[in-house]
Amino acid sequence: MHRFLTALTSRPWLVFVVVFAVSAAFLAAVAGNTRMETDLDEYMPKDHPAFIYSDEAEEWFDIDDGIIIAIEHTDGIYNHGTLSKVKGLTKELGKHDLIDRSDVTSLYTADNITGSEDGLDVRAFYSKVPETEFELDALRRGVRANDMVRGRLVSEDETVTLIIAELGDDAFSQEFYHEILDLTAAYEGPEKLYVAGRPIVEGTMAYLAPKDMKRMVPIVLLIITVVLALVLRSPKSTFFTLLVVVLSTLWTFGLMAWLGIPIYAVSTMIPVMLIAIGVADGIHIYGHLGLYQRATPGVSARDGASEMIRGMWKPVVMTSVTTAVGFISLLTSDVYPIKYFGVFTAFGVMAAMVLSLVLIPAGVVAFGLPGARKVKPEKKGAGDIAVAFGKGVLKHKRLVVVIAVIVVVVSAMGATKIWINSSFLEKFERDSDIVLTDAFINERFGGTSTLNVILDSADNDAMKRPDVLRLMDEMQTQSEMLDEVGDSFGLADYLRRINMVMHADDPAFDAIPESAELVAQYLLLYEMSGDPDMLWRTVDYVYARSNVTLQLKGDDSKTINRAIGVVEEFKPLFEELGVNVNYAGSGYKSLIFSDLILKGQVQSLILSLGIIVILLSLMFKRISAGLIGVIPITITAIVSFGVMGLLNIPLSTTTALISSIAVGVGIDYAVHFMERFRVAAKRTGDVVATIADAMHHSGRAIMFNAIVVIAGFLVLLFSAFPPNRALGALVSGNMFISLLGTVTIMVVVMVQTKMYFKK
């Protein structure tokens, strides 16, 4: 290996040609076959029982996420103009290619079922827009008396009315969103129109996140370039270090394209990982060269390149292999995009390794050594600071251990509080239109988010039984006691309403009918006289299943979990009646999905720690090396989760993956440092001298690495998109803790265990 790499340095141009030929091939693959996967459903593990069930239930009951359009008239909506707009907009939405006419609900489409002593009356609230005061007043009274509509389609204060248009899966696009915005804009004044709903939130996010990234990434790269140039003090070295990162990213995406695997949202984390991990190789290799140049002035470029390889090939290979294995452990995840993320990042890390070992020495040979530095012994360099720091650590070993223990314990406590938030809404700025509109509608109506509770029995007609229906009704009542649940809607509502209407609107009969026969006959009556399409959203064809929709004030995991908590209390009661309780809907799927990711992330983190312990033990031929080597990773992971837990910052699907960086970067630092420590210990046989050497050599390079990446990613704190800000903070934080963990507690443990100093 070593010999082969050294032999390559005699043919630098051949190396360039081969590398660029391979890169060109991958570039062609990227150009020809790259596909973004934006369909969120594609992320879900299709064979997971919760997803299978939810998808089925969505089909049984035609459960789709809806766009919500709110029309506000501050003087009240009961006037000819506003009602005309409701009618006009309802009809226009129904004509849209992506919207089924029957999936649009508004005051114009709703049926008003009323009862009298001798009969029942089913009619539209209006079909010709009312004009006279008398007609308008009749409409107002009709809505007030109908609690299937009041509070659902018209706000209690009568200033806002809703139009809900359900969209088929994946129908949402940016063009569609703009069409809807244009459409509603045409209806503005004096009414104000608002557009909300999950499709809007999801769609806007899918559009905003990459757009923001596109703007931020060049700035990140620019800062990294500048800082890297300052640290390496050589344009040539900077160029080749960056070239390694860029080409390894290109190779990774090229391989992905070549294999026909689409780019998922989490795949956008791959370049982030490769930047953070990839620059390390270059910094360490050039760092070694710099020190060699200083120690032996006047070396030739060929000698320099050979020394780079001789001194660094082993740690570079070791760090890369362990990092790659760490990422490959993500294969245990249930989520395909994350499996791909793990495998391709691992490939990228290996590509970066090969490129670092091949391209950088070739660059030195072809373009000469980096500008020989003026030796300024008086001035304290970064290496001296590192040495001083190392000595300080040695002096205050006890303090370091105490602080480390306190930090880990506090973080571990914090980490238990960590929760993952599947909310889409909370990814937006608090004062963004999307959040404000959502809050506006939530304040006046049941809620913009939904949770579908699916009751499922093996017996046909189970949903006609009064005991089942009463329990269903009770469950709805209990759920609505939560602040987070604004409203609920199900079969029980229809039956209570018909029962009351059939008893001349006597409120005493606003209850579940007494017998299953009466339920069956009411349902038949509703089928005959009402709008059965709406009914079929609450009960299936054979009355074995029912769908209760809870309207939630938020789409975050805490809100959904609180609602589920209430429903779970009813689960045993339903089971006694032979009815199973399940959940469905996109909010629920996101929740399960997030839990899967977090669980998978923790699992794969533990697995990768285990594998890394074994690998390091083999590489350094002692188990203590393995155990000590994972200290930086462990500390980084615990602290990073702990800080989020303590600050009550929820994890999201993408940021949860950042903990992978703890593995990638933490292992690099530990291995480089340990390897240098081993070499120095062998040479000097003295603890202080070994620490000084390791700090001067590796400590310095680690610090540079951390500074470069932290500087780059801190730029993301100025991103317009909150999740990208979190990403910047997390990457920077992880780098910093990895650095600190390596040069403090790991050093202390190495010294205390007398590693490499035992006879």
């Binding site: 009969g119 089913v122 009619r123 079909s127 006959q521 005959m528 299936d540």
Partner: protein
């Protein structure tokens, strides 16, 4: 013979029309052809007896293939200005003896009167509904589809003549006079001389196919042409209703008091 001649003339005129594309087609030549309105009126007024009773089996089927079967005993009688019908559910068991009565008036614009009796409630209730486009008992048929829509509600145009199941049919397009109707237009295939609509396509307001009606079986009973088996497929919802009539008895002299609230409560 006369028909054949008319047809020959029609074919000739159409051929001439296509040759002399500029010439307005000589509609006056085919004046003997019945107009669209006449054809629809023929179908609407087709004699079907004074009264009729039968067993109706209504099968509803959703896109997943789940079915709901309802067995109904129905009675109908024509009183000239009003047609009264009453139906009793026989199965499923939990709706047995639920009955439904409908009085449909020939006077244009006069809404039907409807009553329902729920045995579990032991009460007859009147149903008033503003929408003639309502679906009949959860099926894919609206009341209008079942023959309730007066010919004057639409403007009718003869499109062509086609054979359906080897029987010569007129193809007539009907466009509603009023706006705001559930159909943008319908196309009916009416069997010549029998005046039975054997096929009908329904288009929505956007002119997209909404439903298709197929008559699977019709026949002559006591000199009247009666549809016995028909299928309505709601294309957009992928939902199907099959209506099958058995044990059809015509002109048995059903007493007028069969169509009263009191009789509704009696059951079968």
């Amino acid at each position: 013979m006369k028909k054949t001649f008319a047809l020959a003339v029609l074919v000739l005129v159409m051929a001439a029309g296509s040759v002399l594309a500029e010439e307005p087609s000589g509609l006056d030549v085919v004046a003997e052809e019945p107009s669209g309105l006449e054809l629809i009126e023929n179908a609407y007024n087709r004699p079907d007896g004074e009264d009729m009773q039968s067993k109706l089996t209504m099968t509803l089927m959703n896109s997943r293939g789940d079915t709901r079967v309802r067995e109904i005993r129905q009675f109908m009688k024509d009183f000239g200005d009003v047609e009264k019908s009453v139906m009793f559910f026989e199965s499923p068991a939990d709706i047995r003896n639920t009955s439904f009565m409908n009085w449909s008036y020939t006077t244009v614009g006069k809404d039907d009167d409807q009553w329902i009796f729920l045995p579990a409630l032991k009460k007859v209730k009147r149903i008033s509904s503003d929408s003639k486009g309502d679906y009949f008992m959860g099926s894919d048929f609206t009341y209008d589809d079942l023959g309730d829509r007066h010919p004057s509600s639409d403007t009718h145009t003869v499109l062509s003549r086609e054979n359906v199941n080897d029987e010569p049919c007129y193809v007539v397009e009907s466009v509603p006079v009023e706006e705001e109707y559930i159909y943008g237009r319908t196309i009916s295939w009416i069997v010549e001389d029998k005046w039975v609509v054997v096929k009908k396509d329904f288009y929505d307001e956007d002119d997209e196919l909404l439903k298709t009606l197929t008559v699977d079986e019709y026949g002559e009973i006591d000199g009247y042409w009666v549809v016995m088996h028909s299928t309505m497929h709601h294309v957009q919802r992928d939902h199907t209703t099959i209506m099958a009539l058995d044990d059809i008895q015509l002109d048995t002299g059903i007493p007028e008091n069969k169509f009263t609230e009191r009789m509704m409560t009696r059951g079968l």
